[in-house]
Amino acid sequence: MGYASLEPHLPSSHAPLLPPGTFLSISDTQASDGNFLLHHFISNYIKADQNVVLVGLAGILVHYTMVGRKLGVNLATARTKGNFQFVDGLTQLTDYAAPNKEYLAKPTEPKPATITSTATPSSTTTTTTGARIARPAAAAATPPAPPKVLSYSPKLVDLYRALEEIIQDAASKTKTGPSQKQLVLILDDLSVLLNCGWSCRDVLALVRYLKLLVAKFNGTLITLVHADGLMAEEVSQDGLVKGVFYEADYIIDVRGLDSGGSRDVHGQLSLLHGPGYLLRQRLGQVRENEWPALTLHYKILDNNVEVFAKGYSSGVL
């Protein structure tokens, strides 16, 4: 399991998992990285033998595998089993990185897994693919296929299409019994999309589309966004944070202590109700006390995270 001390504070209706069809938005600041929460959900879903699709816009697969190992989850075997899909959103996301493709060692997949829009200017780079495919794909020896890559495209719709295909693929592959597996789609840093030149409106539209998409597959969406107080001065950043919060059912806000650094408390987690939660509450779809909104403190250890009530740190007790 992920972090045992965090578990009781999360929505209780589906025990270690989040209720399907919901959207959890995590916001963090530079001083207190919220990445550790993603590891919690990844390990929980993998342990429960559910599907995880992780889009690494800032982190790479090795990072998640290494941390997963510390948390007792083997992501490599999960990948070969098909439970865990990693989507590389780092190496070829921007148009700056588009020529990377020309130097790739081998075609990533026999079938075109990387979605490139042909009608866009990036087609100038894809003209070389014909020559690339003609070459015999000899050295496809490694059993786990390389992670799927999100390629550059000026329109965010193409990214959505790529993700849609991956999710459909993941859901259909593991649909064996009568009961559909749960699925979680994790975007590890939404702010990257904004930084890479897409407008706030487009990114928000992508989030909304993805939320509806995963709901279809009995899934949950988790996103991470940077919400430093300083960034509120920028209209697009501020708009993104507010817009994502507006879409969310659950919000976890990670930030440092107001009083500065401490050895026993690394920061605080605010568990908040999003508008979606309030809506469902009004409709009577949530149980009483399913997700009490409160603020907790946390401390990150080597392979665990301690979450405790305010004032209950080991320095005090």
Partner: protein
């Protein structure tokens, strides 16, 4: 026959030259050339990461750090890519510093002077002087502590990090006969000692494997192609002008870097010749492998023209994607002071940067900021003449782990590693951000980052103080704090309480203060916390406001009040321990 054998580290041999493994997460590290900066980053800069250095104003310490990084690369035989726009990259490479003890080798051998640092010489001279005067000196053996003798067994107070002493003797024998590349990879030091008074030797320059990218020249070429493109845009196809073929300085620089990485075989995923069969992983010997060091000087300065601010974001994101899968690391300096509002530029606190710079920091793995006193608007420099400026750590690399390795390993960042883990302190784990304030000194021969502390007033000082007033503390709160320090109690006023808690958080009496802090954070209205301002802070505030120093009654009183007997002991020890430093700071 004994069964004990000396264990020979065999794993180290397979590392590339000048690298070592992180003690915490096994990451391959390279040195920045400055031992104290390596310490802050958790042993060194991890391969595959980007370090952003926010430059100082009016001085060029940021560029100095960049030069250290490149020079260390030349020592290790690494590939160095130098990108610069304002200054020609060749000039940067030519002005690199020399290795300590390399140039003046003969004279050194003759006189027998260990030419390590002038600070050491100062200390030695001082010791001689003190011995001559018959005064007490902590360093000398005969003068033991007579009162607080129990503390004489404690570690000596040190504010900095020492590099491992170089094997000068071995180099003396070697340098005469053979040339430098004769060193085997395992003999190349992780961090060489450099001498700022000397220049890089011509021989080292010749053997250096450098790629120079002059972004100013590129800019011209870009503009030329731009005008060309406009000329024949009518017959050319339209979409190319709006898309990838659009001239773009950052794209050009990135293309050059990518080309260098691929041609040099530094990338693990991108190959020079994609049609050739992929080599088996691990076949190439790691020992022959080198690291590609990318140094970018003053990125985003006015000479770097960009179409949109997103160019730099995209550049960094793509560079990160490139470096993560290659044997390379980048150090980028940026004149961050150009991007900020007036009060942000003049702020002395590390927490204030402009949103633009902040977003850049998100895209880098580590970020530090240099603030030199020469360019500061405040007269804080007069309060701490021993330092040349402050060193702010905004972000340290977190790779393949939940917490950054520097919280476990760094001596400078975290007070816990410093041997202050006395009785009653758990000592487990570290804080997520630096507890210590850091300053830097540039001696005649080297650059060093040390913990920042004010010179003690009146001869008795705290062992470590948090001196730097935050930007949030306005002049009114400063005066409040002054008042509270004179009355040694601020129980009723909630405003200064939180302020002084923050300051107190980085001082020594941790157990007491953490209790106070969490009480204060618990929002308990009845939580009356007797918190006393750290005397260093108020002293600093007094200096900055041009008031005369007030004396140290507050310090002694507060120490005794908060920590009880234990804290009082600490103070006495601090006074004894920092005596050596007090004479160091000519104040």
């Amino acid at each position: 026959m004994s069964s004990f054998k000396k264990r020979v580290p065999s794993a180290q041999a397979s590392l590339p030259a000048g690298c070592r493994l992180s003690a915490y997460n096994g990451q391959v590290l390279i040195s920045t050339g400055v031992p104290s900066l390596d310490d802050i980053l958790g042993g060194g800069l991890p391969v595959g990461t980007i370090l952003l250095i926010q430059e100082d104003r009016q001085t060029s310490y940021g560029q100095l750090l960049l030069k250290y990084f490149l020079r260390q690369g030349i020592v290790a035989g690494d590939k160095c890519v130098v990108v610069s726009g304002d200054e020609s990259p060749e000039a940067i490479v030519r002005s690199l510093m020399g290795i300590a003890g390399e140039e003046s080798l003969e004279s050194q051998v003759q006189t027998g002077v260990d030419n390590r640092d002038d600070e050491d010489e100062e200390r030695r001279q001082r010791r001689k002087k003190a011995a001559a005067a018959g005064g007490d000196d902590e360093d000398s053996e005969q003068d033991r502590l007579t009162i607080a003798w129990r503390y004489s067994g404690l570690k000596k107070f040190e504010s900095g990090v020492e590099a491992r002493p170089p094997a000068i003797s071995s180099r003396v024998g070697k340098a005469g006969s053979t040339t430098e590349p004769a060193l085997t990879p395992s003999q190349i030091p992780f961090c060489e000692q450099f001498d700022l008074t000397t220049r890089i030797s011509a021989k080292a320059l010749e053997s250096a494997d450098t790629t120079l990218i002059d972004s100013g020249e590129l800019q011209k070429a870009v503009q030329a192609s731009d005008s060309d493109l406009e000329d024949d845009s009518d017959d050319d196809l339209a979409p190319s002008a709006s898309g990838r073929n659009q001239p773009d300085l950052y794209r050009n620089v990135l293309d050059k870097i990518r080309e260098t990485l691929i041609q040099g075989g530094f990338s693990t995923t991108l190959l020079k010749d994609p049609s050739a069969p992929a080599p088996a992983p691990g076949a190439a010997g790691l020992a022959e492998r080198h690291i590609c060091r990318i140094g970018i000087n003053s990125i985003a300065s006015p000479s770097w023209r960009s179409k949109t601010p997103h160019d730099l974001y995209k550049f960094l994101h793509a560079l990160r994607g490139l470096l993560r899968f290659s044997f390379g690391a980048a150090v980028i300096t940026i004149p961050a002071h150009l991007y900020g509002t007036i009060d942000q530029r003049h702020a002395t606190d590390g927490s204030t940067t402009s949103p633009y710079i902040h977003r850049l920091e998100q895209l880098c793995d580590a970020s530090v900021r240099i603030e030199s006193f020469a360019g500061a608007q405040t007269n804080a420099s007069s309060a701490a003449s021993a330092y040349h400026g402050l060193f702010h750590v905004h972000k340290v690399p977190v790779l393949n782990a939940l917490i950054p390795s520097s919280t476990k390993l760094s001596v400078l960042l975290d007070g816990a590693a410093k041997g202050s883990g006395g009785p009653g302190q758990s000592g487990s784990g570290g804080s997520s951000k630096g507890v210590n304030n850091l300053g830097f000194k540039v001696r005649r021969k080297r650059f060093a980052i040390e913990t920042f502390h004010l010179p003690p007033e009146g001869g008795v000082g705290q062992r470590r103080t948090s001196a730097e007033p935050s930007s949030g503390s306005s002049s009114s709160s400063l005066s409040e704090r002054k008042k509270s320090s004179s009355s040694t109690k601020s129980s009723s006023n909630p405003g200064p309480v939180t302020g002084s808690i923050k300051k107190a958080g980085s001082s020594e009496e941790r157990s007491v203060q953490s209790r106070a802090r969490s009480l204060g954070l618990g929002n308990k209205p009845s939580g009356q916390v007797d918190v006393h301002s750290v005397p260093g802070a108020s002293g600093m505030a007094r200096k900055m406001m041009g008031l005369p120093p007030k004396g140290i009654q507050g310090a002694v009183a507060s120490g005794c009040n908060t920590g009880g007997s234990e804290a009082g002991h600490k103070h006495s020890h601090g006074g004894a321990g920092s005596g050596a430093n007090s004479s160091l700071l000519d104040f």
